[in-house]
Amino acid sequence: MKLFDYVRATSTGDAVSAGGDYIAGGTDLLNLMKDGVEAPDRVVDINALPLGGISLDAGVLRIGALARMAEVAAHPAVRHRLPVISQALLDSASPQIRNMASISGNLLQRTRCWYFRDTAFACHKRRPGSGCPAQDGQNRWHAILGGSDRCIAVHASDLAVALTALEATVVTHRRRIPISEFYLLPEGTPERENVLESGELITGIEVPVTTLASRSRYLKLRDRATFEFAVVSVAAAVRLRGGEVDDVRLAFGGVAPRPWRSPEAEAALKGGPLTDERIRAAGQALVRDARPREHNAFKVELVQRALAQILGGFR
């Protein structure tokens, strides 16, 4: 690991003006630094900033940027009013990591793509212009939607999938960003993963607390029972009225370089009952533009099955 400066900020202003990479729980950044994937000159510790806490006020849940994953998952209002957030968090990582990792850091964690995480490989995200060996390599875990010829890495956060379904807002020290506009698709610039500008600091997350959000669930499929990232995941919120889908939000993990909202699948479900046939149509709408590679074609089928399974639970 390269030598770096360590600065402990005590106010947001200090943190921003310190000019370095922010660190909170460090559960991802430290690994990336040890592996040489990240090599910041300066690390700014933001743990002393007054950005913790979880509060519910006027129909909005506010989660401080430094709230820990375990704390948010266990919060009674989150569990009862926004269950998909709690479920997504508890399906993430391990208890030790959930005790350390911050909510804002969770949203900014880097992809698990092994070509990105091993500096011996080319990677456009790590070294723009160098190449993307995942395209023809070991790509079982890679994207079927939203990828480009330069990158097919998937976003790793379960929480981000849940927040996408709930239309959360990311709040920074400068502005408010709807989560649907927060993450970027790779296209020609996979090194840019979100719209944050240099030095911009996330101060919190806001989630509208609605009746739809209270009817939300998370389903995560993976290769072992716990402590593993999603092969495919779904966050769903469904409100039925008179047996028909009155409102629905669907977001998917493990299939795209960012949490994947599917308005097409939602449209296929709205205004009718949750029949097998309509669920199938929604699944087909979701994967219409899927572009699988050698080893991940199964995700096209699996994500539709995951959707059917989670929606079946709302009937």
């Binding site: 390269k2 030598l3 070509y115 091993d118 399974q309």
Partner: protein, 723 residues
């Protein structure tokens, strides 16, 4: 009897309180830290190295490459150096992750950082890492230490002609890595031309001989210390280059040097379980009797060696098959040398036991019945009787404990709500021992206490504890008056802790040396004192006393005899080679599968085993549980993946290589027959550690078939294969 008691491990307290010093924990004054730079190509030559940046980095003492690494002798493979070449002796690169430079610095962090500054240029050639693409280049290597790689018994064509049912099946198993929790570590300290090494090794013997050969120094000049291991599973049985390179730079720098492999480095610095492609042809009569079997295993070897460990014993030994052809082929790929990994026979056993399940369905017979009809009453290899074999009892008891009679054999017939339930079974079997005896010294001190020493290892299996129990039993001492010491090559030479050979080779040595020492003690006791004049046959020993069998109150303590003698009794010996044992069992698995997503969960495992006499029920049960957990990983989640363009492993870490977590592991019901094997010189115990992983893999796969009707012959059975 002390043997058989479920005694807790003697080293447990030291381990949980941090007092146990592992190789890298030993505090060595003035030690320097080394870190490896690994090749980033798989095949080619180094054309240039630039070490200027690394040499100028803070704390760096020296940077070694093939240009300045001291010249070394490649040790012979007979003592576990299988690679047949040492890196950094020439510009040649034979696989990804081969050491190309070694940085030595004052601190580990400085060495790690400087390692990133070493620049290496290569003339690289495109590597080949796909086994399926080189199948036509596969060949049968000459016989190795484990016997022939091609074996024919009877006449397979004739046997197939007699068959009423014929099956053909092809299996594929991936690369696996051992992943012990403690990565390999070396600390090398020279004093003139004498070398002391703290090493995490399953073989003091192999390490000592290889170092002696590499440096051309007498064997007695090398001392290897390895009192504790954080697991090995075969990774630390052979000797790998990093150990020799560390000692080489320590000698050159005249300073102690420490090297700990990173997790990623272990993936290419140790061996691995090779990828295999297996084809089976099996013929049987309608009554279930197998008339012919052909089993051809093709596995990867590297460009530099063709070491082939016999893994086909299940094919050759497990069933009475009159007409047999068993072939072990190898094909070269640009990957690191493969080697042995816990339960090597599991790979072939998996294919065989899955095929027997297919046969059971083909014949509409119970899978247990098929196995009973082909039971090997004698060893099919040589026609000689087994020392003992209680496999039939294992099937019977296992079936009872599992509730096998309630199984509806029709695939997909059993459900629990929305979940498909599957029940499968398979035979567990692994050879054990058949290796040279291990040297042991027993010393009875004038304080009446025993010290037992052997240059063996405790790889976490319980060697400290079990050998203490054997010695206490044989010597008639309470366990707290016996100290068993291992992990020091100054003790009598012992065999590698591998091949399930520790109990057979060391246990027999402790038994024999202890018996001799007791005879000498009895001779003293019957020459004078309370037992004077008694024939030896009338004297027994227990709880620290020698006594008259007919009048137990007539007794004398070990301590009194030895004190009167005035000096210790010491016996050193190496027992005869341990016979090749065959520990078997019956394993049963229940799986639950979500038909919508294909995800397999193992919900129950039952194993009944015949390990001969049980020396310690607790440590033995731990072995059985560990084996079952390994089998879950082997069957459902573990595989090492190689990037096809570069032959570089992409998941060389515990984030990408998925070993089971607690939530993947169900209750595991373990029981033992516990009857001594008369052929064993270790109080009736056979080697056992590698048996319980076998069987369970196929039991799970057979349960998957029972649940779904799908025969998945490619491992691991991830959910995509069941969609």
């Amino acid at each position: 009897m002390i043997v058989g008691r479920p005694m807790s491990r003697i080293d447990g307290f030291a381990k949980v309180t941090g007092r146990a010093r592992y190789a890298a924990d030993q505090q060595v004054r003035g030690v320097l830290h080394a870190y490896l730079v690994m090749s980033t190509v798989a095949r080619g030559r180094i054309t240039a190295v630039n070490t200027a940046g690394a040499e100028a980095a803070p704390g760096v003492i020296a940077v070694f490459t093939h240009l300045n690494m001291p010249r070394l002798t490649v040790p012979a493979p007979t003592h576990g150096f299988f690679k047949r070449y040492l890196p950094m002796q020439s510009p040649d690169v034979h696989h990804q992750g081969q050491p190309v430079a070694l940085v030595v610095a004052r601190t580990l962090e400085e060495a790690q950082h400087a390692a990133t500054l070493v620049e290496v240029a290569y003339d690289a050639r495109r590597p080949q890492s796909r086994l399926e693409e080189v199948m036509n280049e596969a060949f049968v290597p000459p016989p190795g230490s484990d016997g022939p790689n091609e074996l024919t018994r009877g006449d397979v064509a004739a046997g197939m002609a007699q068959a009423q049912v014929r099956l053909e099946a092809a299996f594929h198993t991936p690369i696996h890595h051992h992943n012990p929790i403690e990565p390999s570590a070396t600390q090398a300290i020279w004093d003139g031309d004498r070398l002391t090494v703290f090493e995490s090794t399953q073989s003091l013997m192999n390490t000592r001989h290889s170092l002696s050969q590499a440096f051309g120094i007498p064997l007695e000049n090398v001392r290897v210390l390895s009192p504790f291991l954080g697991g090995g599973f075969g990774a630390k049985g052979p000797v790998w280059p990093h150990t020799i390179l560390t000692a080489a730079v320590a000698r050159r720098l005249r300073r102690p040097v420490k090297l700990v492999l990173s997790r990623a480095h272990t993936y290419t610095s140790n061996g691995h379980r090779a990828e295999t492609v297996q084809s089976l042809r099996l013929g049987a009569r309608r009554d279930g009797r197998i008339t012919a079997l052909e089993h051809i295993v093709t596995q990867q070897v590297s460009r530099t060696e063709q070491t082939q460990f016999n893994s086909s014993e299940p094919t050759r030994m497990l069933y009475a098959i009159p007409n047999l052809r068993s072939v072990q082929r190898v094909a070269r790929l640009d990957l690191p040398a493969q080697s042995f990994m816990r339960s090597p026979e599991a790979v072939t056993a998996h294919a065989l036991e899955c095929t027997l399940d297919e046969l059971a369905y083909e014949l509409d017979l119970d899978p247990i019945e098929v196995r009973l009809r082909n039971h090997a009453d004698v060893n099919p290899e040589d026609g000689r009787p087994w020392g003992s074999k209680y496999l039939r009892e294992c099937y019977r008891i296992g079936a009872e404990r599992f509730g096998w009679s309630r199984r509806d054999p029709r695939p997909g017939s059993m459900r629990d709500g929305d979940m498909l339930v599957g029940w499968g079974m398979a035979t567990a079997a692994h050879t054990a021992g058949g290796r040279p005896g291990s040297g042991v010294t027993v010393t009875l001190g004038t304080d009446g206490k025993a010290t037992v020493r052997s240059a063996t290892q405790d790889i976490g299996t319980g060697t400290y504890t079990v050998m203490t129990q054997i010695a206490a039993d044989v010597l008639g001492l309470p366990v707290y008056d016996v100290s068993f010491q291992l992990g020091d090559s100054d003790f009598p030479e012992a065999y590698t802790s591998g091949a399930s050979a520790t109990v057979p080779t060391v246990g027999s040595g402790v038994n024999l040396a202890g018996t001799r020492a007791l005879e000498r003690l009895m001779a003293l006791a019957t020459a004078a004192g309370p037992l004077q004049g008694l024939p030896a046959a009338r004297v027994a020993a227990a709880d620290g006393y020698l006594f008259d069998r007919e009048q137990p109150r007539r007794r004398v303590s070990h301590r009194a005899v030895l004190r009167a003698h005035g000096r210790p009794i010491e016996v050193t010996l190496t027992p005869p080679a341990a016979p090749l044992g065959y520990s078997t069992g019956a394993t049963f698995a229940e799986v639950r599968i979500d038909p919508r997503t294909g995800r397999v969960h193992v919900s129950r495992i039952v194993g009944v085993f015949d390990p001969g006499r049980v020396l310690n029920r607790k440590t033995l049960r731990s072995q059985a549980i560990g084996g079952a957990i390994w089998a879950i990983g082997f069957t459902l989640s573990e595989h090492t993946l190689v990037d096809p363009a570069t032959a570089r492993i992409v998941n060389a870490n515990l984030s990408g290589y998925l070993v089971p977590v607690n939530a993947d592991v169900p209750h595991i019901d373990v029981s033992f027959i516990d009857k001594p094997d008369p052929a064993s010189a270790a109080l009736g115990a056979r080697g056992f550690g590698e048996t319980p992983m076998t069987g369970v893999t196929a039991a799970i796969a057979n349960a998957v078939f029972h649940a779904t009707g799908r025969r998945i012959r490619t491992l691991p059975i991830t959910q995509d294969r069941l969609l």
